[in-house]
Symmetry: D2
Subunit: 325 residues, 4 copies
């Protein structure tokens, strides 16, 4: 389903080449100052245009059409819409016959019996994440005490930022794509959020993060590295009664519950499947394997646009947990 | 909260040293042959007793007290309980003053204002996963078409199974603990399960897996390795109209939806925080940092007992998705 | 919260004098023929204009902005919006000082700390039910096997249809308002829908029906009259193996589950609180009781517009139950 | 499904003649004094034994098996169980062939394909409401500020309490059963609870109340009578800034939200379908209509035992709303 959250609940809708995309944000408390301008900084961070991102140009202009009155949230559902404009639907028609490797084309065909909107990825498009970013910007206002930040710590296999530019150049030059790893830090959240077991903070954040297209892994604190440690190395000593720990291998979460130290997690982003190189796929009409060259505009490196989306879904989770506490 | 699932819904309850632990499984279809015996093989796989696991001995004898009649599920909620017997509560009293590093003691104190049952970890205890394993065994019967398997692919930092035994010996000998990585394969599930975005199969599985204590990371298919690949390497070519792919870097999931290839994910398990070595922590009464030596019985390597729990939560997710489809 | 349904999930948003009102319908199966025209008949039944209804004139023109492609539902969320046009916000400003009797003004002030959009009732407005009617029209297409009908069986205290016209005239003439009772019949739904206890069909239908403003009572089958019967009178004899009953005092539901006979329920609708007669209320600034004469346009008899809304929410419930079964 | 509530969540399980019935109450705050004794007064009010109630005698002895430690709630799920003892399963076997009029036998057969536990009504039994009453007693402790009371305002068609005794005698004497109307008053709850539309207080209370077997109608405040009033009669004048109203035709709820005045609702309870008189039903094996005389023990007047159950579900709703606010 397309909604998430128990008390701060986000529903997203729209298709890449439809009339609009957007989000309904239910459960936002009244009295929070909010205007379209508040959403622009995060939307700008998601925008394409930089080297390695799609040449599709959209205004990405948010319109708040409900839930705000005289500059403040009212307590009613907030609806944010983004009209689509720069659409070239002619580019995509062949993909219901030749499903693209690494894309959702084949599963869409099976799941929706051929009725899915295939234009530009339809409802699978990364464009739907506009609604997530808008909801995230609102969630950040709900959790003013919390500071969210992200950093690309690996790009195209390199963890040396000095290489990032040449890595990107190479991907564009070779008509290929690259992935990367994004680290997110959430500072200042109260201890005691989350629950043991099913509503652990890791459960909720991972649930939200895996709703972002192209994400294939997540780890908290020391994560996969902790699997190589001894308990004596991995355990975080508590050094004051506020629960401050010497190390933060737990990533700010024990027993599923925030411990007041920064929440820290890393997200693996796969290379975008849309590449201009010839690939091989099945022809669903003939059953033959065929070469496929993908037309259309796409990102050589979606990683550049994903950090703000990761912050957004983290903020959505923290807003929900904060309001529930 | 302590329940999970939209149509196949599992609720867990109990404390390590309370009267009993258990699970209520709601939404199971009627007419499935079920008895306590059906739960025993998976429960046995979770049991302690092997080298590196806690010397606590529990019968782990399941009693099905509702939802089964004349040997078949009725369609009403199935309740499975496990009475606790081998409890030694005297071992644990000091931990509300000296919260153990890496444990949930400190967050429990904050979240529950000192009212949490601290005996043996209380409701945070791994013992609560008995209910998950029982629910998982039932979920496996609901999804008879699906085959679940797990393998420990790394233990104490080694990925050579020949080393596992000595790695364990070393952990026990040094009164320390070790972690590891478990790989889970889910074969035979129908394509088309799951949804784009919030109810992606990755979202649901990760949500469930992070409800298992000690899990700190998860990756699907190529996972973190995919972040180092080019799109041309990572994309899985589709080789027949049934969606079979040449490689399975996607781990059986595209656009959040099963593609019919095996679902493949790996889980990072941290070393259990309970070690017998002296550690340092805060005294919550005096505010002084103090040495702490943990008494009580515990696992040097919880990884050995976790594979069946991972299968269980995967099965719970697949049962829910299958019944919803 | 503003969403309802487990598998066919409706979220509503908007304010009476905001930019637009609308609904997001998630979980609708793909492949259902759908266009704006399909929504018009039910929307027309809800429209004002007849004697006893508000002189506010809105086009009530639905725009489907997501979830439909080439004339068919896609399986993605369907968003229907209605732009507001005929708004006269000047009419309503005084009501935050003088909360109107029988309205939500006072509770809105308390719950939303003065930030609620008070224009035309804001998010409390009956105008929000446009989204319900649109969602209901779609739900009816999802449940093609089911026939929904409604009848006003009491108006202004009379159960003689011949009186309805004069009753209405009297209400308009005296600047007062009247209520009534609507009976809804749902024919053709499969037996076996719903669950005992919390998800009984009565629970779900009543939940949905009480979300319609002005509803103050509901009864199923013989309802309150059954409280006066003996068991031997009230029990419905089963006369064939398909479960057909001689009488239908149960209103088509036993043990919370549909029995295949028509679902029958009656809904009490209070007189709309907006009347032009002078009333007495509190001045929230001075604390004095004051006379109040309500300006603005309103319905003398909302009952006339409610039958199609009742059908809509019934259809939403039946669609959800049908898809879950 | 068998759970209810967003933050104070109750799950019920069990069968009339199974091992036990019970409830899991999740989301109860820590630090509330709680023991089995606290549950006894409400359980006693539900008990059979009085004239007009079933001769089945059960100890109805609650055991709290999780979630309470040292006399206080811990914040973990509270599980309350009731072991069954006085079961005579031989009484009920014929009802899968001859479904009883007014009972859930026929729908159970259809929904559960013959696998439902038919003994004593199985999971449809009123005995399952033991879990509701236990959960309600806990919910009352969570909402200490609120006072819940109920009154039988009509019995067997009479609203004169002086008649009740003879009405009951007549029902028992004639081997028939009678229904009635119960009025519930909820005093002292904070204004501002609930939401407009789907989570209106009327929606939530009615949802919960219709989960009680035998309930066929509910009305709030003036309810069905308000349908006969003019707006000028029905509107409740607000007489002070705390929202106190002169009348309470709204039953304490405007726009779905509590207004601080007592919540008032009336519930129609049908006569229990179990009567000893000969009835007519279908034989599911032969397809013939046959006479049926029901054996077993049953209540001639379930109304006597229902008030405390109505209070219980009201308290469950108020606890959930209070914790969410």
């Amino acid at each position: 389903m397309n909604s998430f959250g128990r008390k701060f609940r986000v529903s997203i809708f729209g298709e890449s080449h439809g009339t609009m995309v957007g989000a309904v944000i239910d459960g936002c408390p009244p009295g929070i100052s909010l205007s379209e301008e508040d959403l622009l900084p995060d939307l700008a961070r998601r925008k394409s245009g930089a080297k390695g991102t799609t040449p599709r140009r959209e205004a990405d202009e948010p319109k708040i059409v409900s839930g705000v009155f005289n500059g403040y949230t009212t307590g009613a559902p907030i609806t944010v819409i983004f009209e689509n404009s720069d659409t070239r639907s002619g580019d995509y028609k062949n993909l219901i016959v030749q499903p693209r490797p690494g894309h959702a084309d084949w599963v869409a065909l099976k799941k929706y019996n051929g009725f899915a909107d295939y234009r530009g990825g339809g409802h699978f498009s990364g464009r739907i994440t506009l609604g997530l970013v808008a909801a995230g910007a609102i969630a950040k206002k709900v959790t003013e005490n919390i500071d969210y930040s992200t950093e690309i710590i690996e790009l195209g296999g390199s963890n040396d930022k000095a290489d990032y530019d040449s890595v990107l150049d190479e991907a564009v030059r070779t008509h290929n794509s690259i992935g990367g790893i994004v680290e997110c830090t959430v500072k200042g959240c109260f201890p005691g959020l989350g629950d043991p077991f099913f509503d652990s903070v890791e459960s909720l954040i991972s649930h939200a993060v895996f709703s972002i297209p192209a994400v294939k892994g997540i780890e908290f604190g020391a994560g996969f590295a902790s699997a190589k440690m001894n308990g004596s190395q991995n355990n975080d000593n508590i050094i004051d009664i506020n629960g401050t720990t010497e190390t933060n291998n737990a990533g700010g979460i024990n027993g599923g519950i925030t411990n007041g130290n920064p929440i820290l997690f890393r997200v693996a982003v796969k290379p975008t499947p849309s590449i201009s190189l010839p690939q091989n796929t099945i022809n669903m009409e003939t059953g033959n394997r065929e070469d496929l060259t993908i037309k259309g505009r796409h990102d050589a490196c979606i990683v550049l646009r994903i950090p703000v989306i990761i912050e957004a879904v983290a903020a959505i989770v923290m807003a929900d947990l904060t309001l529930l506490s």
